[in-house]
């Protein structure tokens, strides 16, 4: 599904990703852990096509297509979804309007029919229930005045609605209490399927008690320095990231 090879990326003249390789197969859940400043969010931004993130070397194939030459909206329509570490507040843009515009734009780009507002509202109500979000969030502006937890759950709600093939969750767990964390995990687990893949970026292994990953990677200094199964997350928890620096390859500059 996703094949990243020797990816190098630069932000504001600074090399952040330095030879990252990762392969994600359909249905797999990959966890990426790593210290602050390791480049985890940079990876998510590069994969979803944010401006200012310059790829200087390497390749990214998504279902055999060169992902890097697509615009962000084309990547979304192709099935890539990023749950933002910091969801953006957009005053004046109504949430329902936004969701329908996004939903229909993706369908249109794929040559599928659009939903009218009645059909769409029905769909939205179903998905809202899964995330236990209050329906009045729909009438507010996108993320405006949402609590930290609401913003994160709103990201997962959007994911449930848009049904991507590959979802990248960027620290969706940080700042959540245990109940909200469980809800987020339930939302993700409900979407797990043999065709859908996840990259779960997290700083803590706590989330991985609820979203059980197939693979765990440690990202440090702009590359994957260690890969393993679930037990790697537990080792990290026990020994901290310093352990990685000793056992992994030299990680280069780590912020």
């Amino acid at each position: 599904m996703l094949k990243i090879e020797n990816l190098h990326a630069r932000v504001e003249g600074k090399d952040i990703l330095k030879g990252l390789s990762l392969e994600v197969k359909p249905g797999e859940v990959h966890a990426i852990m790593g210290p602050n400043g390791a480049g985890k969010s940079t990876l998510g931004n590069v994969l979803s096509g944010r401006e200012g993130y310059e790829v200087t070397e390497g390749s990214v194939l998504f279902e055999g297509r060169n992902l890097l030459e697509l615009a962000p909206e084309e990547r979304a329509a192709a099935g890539v979804f990023l749950a933002f570490q910091y969801p953006v507040e957009i005053p004046g843009v109504n949430n329902t309007y936004f969701l329908r515009a996004a939903y229909n734009a993706q369908r249109k780009a794929r040559g599928e029919g659009e939903l009218d507002s009645m059909q769409f509202l029905k769909l939205v109500r179903e998905k809202l229930k899964i995330m236990q979000l209050s329906p009045d969030l729909l009438n507010r502006a996108v993320n405006e005045g949402f609590s930290g937890g609401e913003k994160k759950r709103n990201e997962i709600f959007q994911m449930a609605l848009l049904e991507p093939k590959l979802a990248i969750l960027d620290e969706t767990d940080s700042g959540l209490d245990i109940d909200a964390l469980k809800q987020v995990a339930e939302g993700v687990n409900a979407l797990r399927s043999p065709e859908r893949s996840f990259i779960v970026v997290t700083h803590y292994q706590r989330l991985l008690d609820y979203i059980v990953p197939d693979h765990v990677h440690v990202l440090a200094g702009g590359r994957i320095v260690e890969s393993g199964d679930r037990s790697l997350a537990l080792k990290l928890e026990e020994h901290g990231y310093a352990w990685v620096a000793e056992h992994g390859e030299p990680a280069g500059a780590s912020a």
Partner: protein, 434 residues
């Protein structure tokens, strides 16, 4: 001594015949206004109020005074429809009242609404105070011009205590004529004690034209009156429109203004609010969207003259193409206006590298215990917001439109009428195509 040559603009109007009223004081006032206009001419950019709006190009053009065929110009009734809002309306074409297009037969009790031309014929004396005013500031050229030539417009009086639920409309249409013409309208609005009114003012264009229109308005609110004033400026492409509105608010009187500026090649709007009674309030909200080669200049001046007066103003500018916007917001809290509360904000968005907006908030305080805040920004579309929308599949042009519309719409969220809010949304969406 050699007189400097008059620019064509001034020369053409200097020789134009003044409207004859048969009322001695009015004829005299018109003559004095014209003389003052001719003597001073058009202001240049050294005059503070015209610093960012150069009138050089305008001064080289000559306009005929008025439209002799204004009564017979064909106007498509569809142009005059407004979001299904029915009710009394006064319609003017090239500055002249059109009974055939207006609706005056269902006036609610307590409302006296008539064209200025009729009011002058019936009872000129009641208009004397306002119509014999002199304009002495160096930037007052268009007010003088209007004082000299305006012979029509609207006179609207609402009786004390009358709470009018139907909105009243004043519609000013610039219509194609053989030549470039200058037309002028004057309006006088007076709300008696405790009266309440919604007034919708529209400027529209019918056909290709490069007219100059001027408008001068005096709006007086007596104690405890409330005015909801909505201004939709959609003057025709190519036209120049110079407007000036004076609001005078008595004790506890409140004005809620929502003003959208979309049309015209040159659109200037002076808004002056004098809060003369204790606890009077002026709440102004507006947006201006210069595109192409449009130039829009909003000059807001609020004078706090009495205790515990309140003013809150938010204006937003969106400039695209080679559009140029100017916003000057001046608040003066005079001696004795203790306890005044004044807030003024102006945010602007530039959508193209050639677009420009100059904004200048000014604040002068001479009273005690005053709360005042003002701020202005000029920026570009929020890249993070745009990426967020695109990452969900919304194409880039649509993301821009969504964000821009959201930005420009903000001042109108406080507009009570949902119909008008939706109408304004439509106008904004049509203006900012995906």
């Amino acid at each position: 001594m050699n007189q400097p040559a008059r620019p064509p603009f001034v020369a053409a109007l200097a020789e134009a015949p003044l409207p004859a009223s048969g009322v001695a004081w009015l004829d005299k006032a018109r003559r004095e206004n014209l003389d003052a206009f001719v003597a001073a001419g058009l202001p240049d950019t050294r005059v503070e109020a015209w610093k960012y709006t150069a009138l050089r190009a305008l001064s080289q053009r000559s306009f005929a005074a008025g439209d002799a065929q204004a009564l017979s110009r064909d106007i498509d009734p569809a142009l005059l429809a407004l979001a299904g809002i029915e009710g009394p309306a006064l319609v003017f074409v090239n500055g002249v009242y059109r009974a055939d297009l207006s609706m005056l037969d269902a006036l609610p009790a307590g409302v006296d609404l008539q064209p200025l031309s009729h009011a002058l014929a019936a009872d000129p004396e009641s208009l004397r105070f306002t119509l014999s005013r002199h304009y002495r500031e160096p930037g007052d050229a268009f007010a003088r011009l209007n004082g000299a030539f305006a012979h029509d417009g609207a006179v609207l009086r609402v009786a004390a205590g009358a709470k009018i639920s139907v909105p009243l409309r004043l519609v000013f249409v610039g219509a194609a004529a053989g030549a470039e013409i200058a037309w002028h309208v004057r309006h006088l609005v007076e709300l008696g004690e405790g009266a309440e009114l919604t007034l919708i003012e529209q400027h529209l264009g019918a056909g290709e034209q490069a007219h100059l229109g001027t408008q001068l308005g005096d709006v007086t609110l007596h104690a405890d009156a409330t005015l909801h004033h909505v201004g939709l400026q959609q003057a025709g492409a190519g036209s120049s429109l110079v407007r000036r509105s004076h609001y005078r608010l008595g004790a506890r009187a409140q004005t809620h203004l929502h003003a959208l500026e979309l049309g015209g090649t040159l659109a200037r709007h002076d808004l002056r609010a004098e809060l003369v009674g204790d606890a009077a309030g002026f709440h102004g909200h507006g947006a201006f969207l210069p595109d192409g080669r449009q130039h829009m200049d909003i000059q807001l001046a609020i004078g706090h003259q009495a205790r515990n007066t309140v003013s809150s103003s938010t204006w937003r500018g969106v400039a695209s193409g080679r559009g140029r916007g100017v916003f000057r917001g001046a608040i003066v809290v005079n001696t004795g206006a203790d306890g005044a509360d004044a807030v003024l904000g102006n945010k602007n968005l530039l959508l193209s590298p050639q677009a420009e907006i100059d904004t200048k908030p000014e604040l002068e305080i001479y009273a005690d215990e005053v709360k005042a805040a003002h701020g202005a920004t000029v920026g570009q579309l929020d890249e993070r917001a745009s990426f967020y929308l695109r990452s969900r599949g919304i194409p880039e042009p649509q993301a821009r439109t969504l964000l821009t519309t959201a930005f420009a719409r903000a001042p109108f969220e406080s507009l009570a009428s949902e119909r008008l809010r939706e109408h304004i949304d439509q106008l904004l969406l049509a203006r900012l195509p995906a």
